[in-house]
Amino acid sequence: MPVYVTSLSSIVDFVADLSRTDTANVEPMAHPMDGQRQRLRPDVVAETDHREKYQRNAPSVQAGLYVVPKVIE
């Protein structure tokens, strides 16, 4: 844990440099292709069922359901 304390502090100090830049009236940029619109597709079923194949990677499965420790007593 002490390793993280030092390294995380140094990272936070490092990125604090940004505060010295004047960004008044600058719009935040979340995406590199600014202005690109997200596409929509027709609301029709395009995927087939792969549940069995996908669940082969699950650590624990029973009757097609993912198993986790008991949540509700």
Partner: protein, 483 residues
């Protein structure tokens, strides 16, 4: 066979001078011989490779021809490969067998490419030295005491050691260009949205982009031609026509306006600067002109990146919960214990560091000061590039500040490690294409020249790199013992 271009190999295959099975056996034998020392591959798929090669030979026998048909490659282990373990360099996915192909994998498979195996990489592509991999560091074939760069370090080392004619990589802050530079390889990161990200395990979704590491720009052009293009399965894939990259390699460079970034040359080590200036002489002899330009906000690209990338990473990696796939701890006492220990034991220190940084900069009270601020500075950097490209066609400078460094030298100091990417990160923040090509040696280790262009200028970058490679032979140099 292992030093030939993709074009030459395709000609040999087409003329029946060798078969894909022979070619595949040749590279598998090299992997068997060199990989134990280099650790460049984490999975070798010999059986699947030979079956794919036999299938390619049947297509060739029917008269089919293609630039990649029957030519082997190695995929970075970040791309999902149906039926083959896809670990992303992490204990978290050490047991994960991908149930489908990434679009990049599917496109290359359809073109008849033969996958030899999966390349080692920094854990979840977070690193600049390939030392954060769960499977241990990759060694640089030029000097096995040195790192190959990262995060596509296995892909780069495999290229330098001639273990495959080409490899795939991904680049979020320099992860194709920096290792390409440190191993004497040509690597291109295309424009954001040019190559599909579907099935490519996400690190920072607004920055990640897939690309190629190859022997030359000519080879990279042939591969990118197959990889690039619209994919409805990736919501940020750009629906724009793909130019004929191989055909455009031959265009003359007369009148090319090259921008020299003042911020890249300030404080650049003199031997590194000398190599860049030698390269510029080649370009001016070909009719290009140079002009100095300034991107005043570029020095802020590293701190901007180390807010934006960890923020996106912390969100993306929240999917690893030990429930549906991936690592699960032993004997969890309740659900919270399952989450905590599965993530605590499944992720390595650098990944945890970035998740913690990311959740911190996104947390209430710090969001405006860090995350929103970084997004605003990102726009200023983007504007700087836009202005520069109104005056010049391409920006040229170094790929890295130094040649490959010793294994262990920077791993304990994240800031020093992060500053390796000082010249490459800007292109990711602005979504621009970037290319690194070998331009000489410092202390016997290869150095890279970086070209950055406006959005969708891959053909120009490949063309400029190819013209340089027609007149120089840095890209043909092989490390001793791997010729």
């Amino acid at each position: 066979m292992h030093d030939q271009s993709i074009g030459e190999l395709a000609l040999h295959l087409g003329a029946g001078r060798c078969s894909s099975v022979e070619l595949t056996r040749h590279f598998l034998a090299r992997i068997e011989r060199f990989n134990p020392a280099l650790n460049a591959l984490v999975t070798v798929t010999a059986e699947e490779a030979l079956a794919a090669a036999a299938a390619a030979d049947r297509r060739l026998a029917r008269g089919e021809r293609g630039p990649l048909l029957g030519v082997p490659l190695i995929h970075k282990d970040i791309f999902c490969t149906d039926g083959v373990r896809t670990s992303c360099g992490s204990r978290m996915l050490d047991n994960f067998v991908a149930p489908y192909d990434a679009t990049v994998v599917a496109r290359l498979r359809a073109a008849g490419a033969v996958m030899l195996g999966k390349a080692n990489m920094d854990e979840f592509a977070m690193g600049s030295s390939n030392e954060t991999s769960y499977y241990g560091p990759v060694r640089n074939p030029w000097d096995t005491g040195k790192v190959p760069g990262g995060s596509s370090g296995g892909s780069a080392a495999a290229m330098a050691a001639r273990l495959a004619p080409y490899t795939t990589g991904t680049d979020t802050g320099g992860s194709i260009r920096q290792p390409a530079a440190l191993t004497g390889v040509t690597g291109i990161k295309p424009t954001y949205g040019r190559v599909s990200r579907y099935g490519m395990i996400a690190f920072a979704s607004s920055l990640d982009q897939a690309g190629v590491l190859a022997r030359s720009a000519e080879d990279a052009a042939a591969v990118l031609q197959v990889m690039a293009g619209f994919d409805p399965l990736d919501s940020t894939s750009v629906d724009a026509p793909v130019p004929d990259y191989p055909r455009l390699l031959g265009a003359p460079l007369t009148g090319l306006r090259i921008g020299l970034l003042r911020e890249f040359f300030d404080g650049l080590e003199s031997r590194n600067a000398a190599l860049i200036h030698d390269a510029l002489k080649v370009y001016t002899s070909l009719g290009a002109s140079t002009v100095e330009v300034s991107l005043p906000h570029l020095p802020l690209s590293v701190p901007t990146y180390y807010v934006v990338a960890p923020a996106e990473c912390s969100s993306n990696l929240s999917r690893f919960d030990g429930v549906r796939y991936g690592y699960r701890c032993d004997n969890p006492k309740d659900l919270l214990d399952l989450y905590r220990r599965s993530r605590g034991e499944g992720f390595g220190p650098e990944v945890k560091r970035r998740i913690m940084t990311g959740t911190y900069v996104l947390s209430a009270g710090y969001f405006d000061a860090y995350y929103l601020k970084a997004q605003k500075v990102r726009r200023l950097i983007n504007e700087d590039f836009r202005k520069a490209f109104s005056e010049v066609d391409v920006l040229i400078g170094p790929t890295t500040p130094t040649p490959a460094f010793a294994i262990g030298a920077k791993i304990d100091d994240p800031i020093t490690m992060y500053l390796n990417d000082i010249y490459t990160i800007g292109a990711n923040l602005a979504g621009l294409p970037g290319l690194s090509l070998p331009c000489g040696f410092v202390d016997g280790l290869p150095m890279g020249l970086q070209l950055i262009g406006p959005h969708f200028s891959e053909s120009r970058l490949l063309n400029a790199a190819h013209q340089y490679q027609l007149r120089t032979d840095w890209h043909r140099q092989a490390p001793r013992g791997y010729e």
